[in-house]
Symmetry: C2
Subunit: 545 residues, 2 copies
C-alpha cells in the first residue's frame, strides 16, 4: 500500500540537510550593525573520521539476542551510525556535533522492521538493563533523542526508519493508519496519491516522522486550519517493554480518561509508538496565500484574536513582529524590499509587522471563508501586500534550519524557542521573554537580535515563536546560550506561558515540567511510567527527568 | 461575581423535573400498535415516607470530624436527603426509586462550601476508610452516583451544590472559571450577563453541573459547533484525597501528556473536580434553526459527512431515522403533521428522516456558513420543511426525561443508549445495536420500538443515539432491560462503536471498559488512581469497576 518513497537523503551528520543556504548579505549586514556579528567564516565541522565518541561496547549477550530479533545487519555499531544518532538538532546539539567531540552516543543503533520486533527488542533490553532511545527523524530541538543512560550501563537507539508504510486508508471516514517511521514527505506523497493530505507541515517536515509528531505533540505551519498533530490523531499503538497499549480510533468517546492524550506527548518515556491513525483531509484543490502589513504587533494580534473568536480563521496565520519583519526585508533585500519599506512608511507604517494568511480548500469554500476576514483586515489597519509575500513564505517555509548551519559557519548563535499563552497574557509573555534574552546576552557583551512571531492561533490565545541571533561568545558558546535559555524559560513560565507549544519537553525542559504541572501532575505521570515501563529503560532523562 | 441564581427546583426525588409532560395521544397510539403497550396508568411511586432504605449510620468520630469541617448543618442524614442521593436517572434507577425499596443510600450527604473544605473532607474519609461519591446534578444515566461502597463500611455522598460561583471571566481570552457545582442554567445566565455563552446544552442541562460535564466528558446539543465539554475545557482543579492537581489553562501545550485529558472522564475516581476553566464564546446575536426531510437515513448521513469533511458544519446537526421521525410525527399529530406526511409521500419520501440544522452567531457569519450547506442539502435530496421543525426542536429540546416519567407511569420501558463510530462503520453499528435490542426484547414477548438519531458530527464519524420503547415485562422489569442493554453493548462494541460517546462509564459500562482500552489501558488508569487515591475511597465501582 506504499506510495512512491520520497527520495530525501538523511540529515547531514553535523547539521540539517544537504541544501547549501548561504546567509543573505542583507541579513549579514543587519547582524553586523545590530548584533556586532563579524560574519567571518569561522570554520566548518571536522571530518567524520576525526569525531571522538566514548567507547561503550554493547554487552555481547544482548547484542546476540538483538541480532536474532532484527538480523545482525540491523544492529549497527559503525562510527557514522553512532554519530548520526548521538544528538538532535538544537543549537547546543549542533555545537557538540561541530566540535567533533561528542560526550555520548548509543552503543548500537537497532533498526526493527515491525511492531513485533520492537516488542521483542524492548523485552530484551528490559531483561538486560539497557536504556532505549526511540528515534524518528532525529530533529528534536530539546534533547529528545539524546543518548542519556540514566542508571544503565548500556544504551541502544531504536531507529524506526524501516517501519515506514502506509498501513491503511479509509477514504469514507477520512482516516489513515501510518507507521511511525514514515517521514513527512513520504506520508504526504502516499496520501496525495489518494487525493488526501495529512496537512501537517512543521519546519522539520522533510525529516521528521509520524511517530515523532505524535510523541512530541507536534504542530505544523497549517495546524491553525487542519489541527495540531494531537488533534489529528485518533488512535495509536504503543509498544511498552512488557505490555502493549492499543488506542482504537473513534471520532470521540466518553469512555473514561483519554489514553490517547496520555501517549501523545509521552516522548518515548512510556514505550514506542509504532502506528498512528490520523484524520486526513481532501487534498486542497485551491490555495490562496497572501501578505499584509500591520501597523504594529498589537493590532496584528488583535486581528488574529478577532478572526479566531469569530471563528473565521484561515488555515495558516503568521504574524511577525517588527524585528522579524525587518530581518525578512533584509533577507529579501533588493529593489522590491526597498519599495515596500518606502510605500509602508508613506502610509504611516514605520515599523511594519508582516502578516501572512493562507486558505486552502475548494474554490467556493475558500472564497466564502476569505470574505469575513477581508472585513476584519480593513478594520485592524492591514495594508495588502498582495500574493508575493505569501508565495515567498510558502517557498521558504522549510529554509530556517538550513540557514542556521550557514549562520553557525559564521560564528552566529542562532536558536529558537516557543510558548503559547492566553490573549490576556500574550504581550506580557512576549515582553518578558524578549527582555530576558536581551538582558542575559547583552550582559555577556553579545546583544542579540530577538524576533518573534505568532504561528498558531486559538480562540483563547496564540503561540509565540522567538528567534535569537547574536555573536557567539568564543570559547563559552554553551554557557552563553544555556544562561539565556534558562532566563527565557523562567521568564515565560512566570509570565503565564506554557513551557512549550510544540517543541516538547525532552531533556532541556524536563527540570521545568513540575513548574507547569505541579507535584501531583508529575506523580501521576510517573505512576503511568512505572506501570508501562517498570524497569525504567525507556528514554531516560527525557520528560520526567 | 455571580449572575442571578437560576430558580430551578431540584430533581423530583423519584424522577425528573416537576413539569408534568403527559404522553401525547399519537405516541400512545403508536406504542399500542407497534409495541403492544397497553398504555394504562399502572401506578405512580409511593410517598417519600414509605421508602425503605438500608440503615447505615455514619461512624460517630467521622461524623464529628466532618461536622467540624463543613458545619453540622451540612452533614445531612434525613431520609429525603439520603433518597435524593441514592440513585442517578437511568431507567433502572427510576425503577428502583419508584419501587420505594432502595438497595443502597449514602450514610450521609456532605455539602462543602469550598475546595479547601473538599480537601479536608476527603482527608477525613481517607483516614476513616469511608467511600466518597462526588455528586453534581445527579443526572447520571450510567450509575455514576450510585452509592456503591466497594470494600468500605461507610459511604458519604459529596454534594457540590454550594460551590456554584462564577469565579472569573476573561473577556479578552474568552475563558471563564466556574465552580463545579454550578448547574447549566446558572452558568449560562451568569455568562450571558457578560455577553457570553458556554454553548453547552445537554438534555440534562437544567439540572446537570459544570463539574459533572467535565467528569463525564459531556456533549451537548450544540457541541458540533461549540465543541464537546472536553474540548471546551482548558484548565481545572482536582482535589484528591491526599494531594491536589491543578491544570493551568493554556490555549495549547506540548509539555508532555495531557493531564487535563486524564482528569476529564475520570468520573470521580481520582478525586473531586472543584473548578473548571472553559472556553466561552460571544453569545450569538442570531440563530437560524430549520428542518429538512431526507429520503432515507443513508442519504442523511452522507449529507452530514459531506458537511463535516468540507468543514461547513452547522452548530447543531440532528438526523432522525425513519422510526424516530415517525414517532416525532405521532407526537406532533394533528393536521400539520398529516399534511407534512402526505406532502413528503407525494415527493417520493415514504419513510422520511427528519433533519434539523442550526446555525448561531452574527448575521453575516451565519449567512456565509449557510450558503455552502444549502448546496449540499440539494445534492443529497433534502426537502425543506422550513423553520417550524427547528423551532419545535428548540422548544422541546429538554423534554425527553420529563416525558419518560409519564411513560413509566403507563408501564412503558423507556431508555436511551448511545455510541459513536467512524463513518465506514456507522451503519453496521446502527444495525447491530438495533437488531440486538429487537431480538432481546422480542424474545421476551415485548417487541420494542427502536429509534435512532445522529446528534454529533465529525469529519471521521458521528454519534448514534438510540431510544428504546417497549411494554414493561411486569415483575421482571430489571432483568428485561438488563438483558437488552447487555446485548446492545456487546453488539456495538463488536461492530466498531465506542462504549459511550457522552453518557460515560459509571457502573453500567465498567465491565466493558477493558474491551475498549485493553488490559494495558486499564493498568495505566489504575496506576493513576492508586497514585492520586491510594486508599481507594473515591467513587468505588465506577469507571474501573
Amino acid at each position: 500500500m506504499n506510495g512512491r518513497p520520497a527520495a530525501l537523503p538523511p540529515l547531514r551528520w553535523w547539521g540539517w540537510g544537504e541544501r547549501e543556504t548561504p546567509v543573505p548579505p542583507g541579513l549579514l549586514d543587519l547582524l553586523r550593525d545590530e548584533a556586532g556579528v563579524s560574519g567571518e567564516l569561522s570554520g566548518r565541522p571536522p571530518d567524520l573520521d576525526a569525531v571522538t565518541l566514548p567507547d561503550h561496547p554493547l554487552p555481547a549477550p544482548l547484542s546476540r539476542r538483538l541480532a536474532r530479533i532484527v538480523g545482525a545487519a540491523n544492529v549497527r555499531r559503525g562510527i557514522e551510525e553512532r554519530v548520526r544518532h548521538a544528538a538532535g538538532r538544537s543549537y547546543l546539539d549542533l555545537l557538540a556535533l561541530r566540535s567533533g567531540c561528542l560526550p555520548g552516543a548509543p552503543d548500537a543503533v537497532v533498526h526493527p522492521a515491525s511492531a513485533a520486533e520492537v516488542a521483542l527488542v524492548l523485552r530484551a533490553c528490559a531483561d538486560a538493563g539497557c536504556a532505549v532511545v526511540p528515534f524518528g527523524g532525529g530533529t528534536s530541538v530539546v534533547g529528545g533523542v539524546a543518548p542519556a543512560r540514566g542508571p544503565f550501563a548500556a544504551l541502544i537507539t531504536l531507529d524506526l526508519e524501516r517501519m515506514n508504510a502506509l498501513v491503511d486508508v479509509d477514504t469514507t471516514s477520512q482516516t489513515a493508519t501510518l507507521q511511525a517511521g514514515m517521514r513527512g514527505p513520504r506520508a504526504e506523497t502516499a496520501l496525495r496519491a489518494r487525493g488526501l493530505t495529512l496537512g501537517h507541515f512543521p519546519q522539520s517536515f522533510e525529516y521528521a516522522t509520524v511517530g515523532g509528531f505524535a510523541a512530541t505533540r507536534s504542530a505544523g505551519q497549517a495546524s491553525t486550519g487542519y489541527g495540531r498533530f494531537d488533534e489529528l490523531t485518533r488512535g495509536l499503538r504503543l509498544i511498552a517493554p512488557r505490555t502493549e497499549l492499543n488506542v482504537t480510533a473513534f471520532p470521540a468517546s466518553a469512555a473514561g480518561p483519554s489514553l490517547l492524550e496520555l501517549v501523545l506527548g509521552s516522548e518515548g518515556s512510556f514505550g514506542v509508538i509504532t502506528d498512528v491513525t490520523v484524520r486526513v483531509h481532501a487534498a486542497p484543490r485551491f490555495r490562496r496565500y497572501a501578505g499584509w502589513s500591520m501597523p504594529d504587533f498589537d493590532s496584528g494580534t488583535a486581528l488574529l484574536r478577532d478572526l479566531a473568536q469569530r471563528r473565521v480563521l484561515p488555515d495558516v496565520a503568521r504574524l511577525s513582529d517588527a524585528t522579524e519583519t525587518r530581518a525578512s526585508l533584509a533577507v529579501a533585500a533588493g529593489r522590491a524590499a526597498d519599495m515596500a519599506r518606502r510605500y509602508l512608511e508613506l502610509r504611516g507604517q514605520r515599523e511594519p509587522c508582516l502578516l501572512v494568511l493562507g486558505w486552502e480548500g475548494d474554490g467556493a469554500t475558500v472564497g466564502a471563508r476569505e470574505r469575513p476576514a477581508a472585513r476584519l483586515l480593513r478594520k485592524h489597519g492591514a495594508i495588502s501586500l498582495g500574493a508575493a509575500p505569501g508565495r515567498a513564505w510558502l517557498h521558504g517555509r522549510y529554509d530556517g534550519p538550513y540557514l542556521r548551519d550557514s549562520l553557525l559557519d559564521r560564528g552566529v548563535l542562532a536558536e529558537t524557542l516557543e510558548t503559547a499563552a492566553e490573549w490576556s497574557h500574550l504581550h506580557t509573555v512576549r515582553a518578558a521573554v524578549s527582555d530576558a534574552l536581551q538582558t542575559s546576552l547583552a550582559a555577556r557583551g553579545t546583544p542579540p537580535l530577538v524576533g518573534c512571531h505568532v504561528s498558531h492561533v486559538y480562540g483563547d490565545g496564540a503561540s509565540l515563536y522567538f528567534t535569537v541571533l547574536a555573536a557567539q561568545e568564543t570559547g563559552h558558546e554553551v554557557a552563553q546560550w544555556s544562561a539565556a535559555k534558562r532566563a527565557a524559560t523562567g521568564a515565560l513560565q512566570s509570565a503565564g506561558g506554557t513551557l512549550t507549544h510544540h517543541h516538547g519537553v525532552g531533556v532541556d525542559h524536563a527540570a521545568w515540567l513540575e513548574g507547569e504541572v505541579g507535584p501531583a501532575g508529575i506523580g501521576a505521570l510517573r505512576a503511568v511510567k512505572t506501570q508501562l515501563d517498570p524497569d525504567g529503560i525507556m528514554n531516560p532523562g527525557k520528560l520526567l527527568g
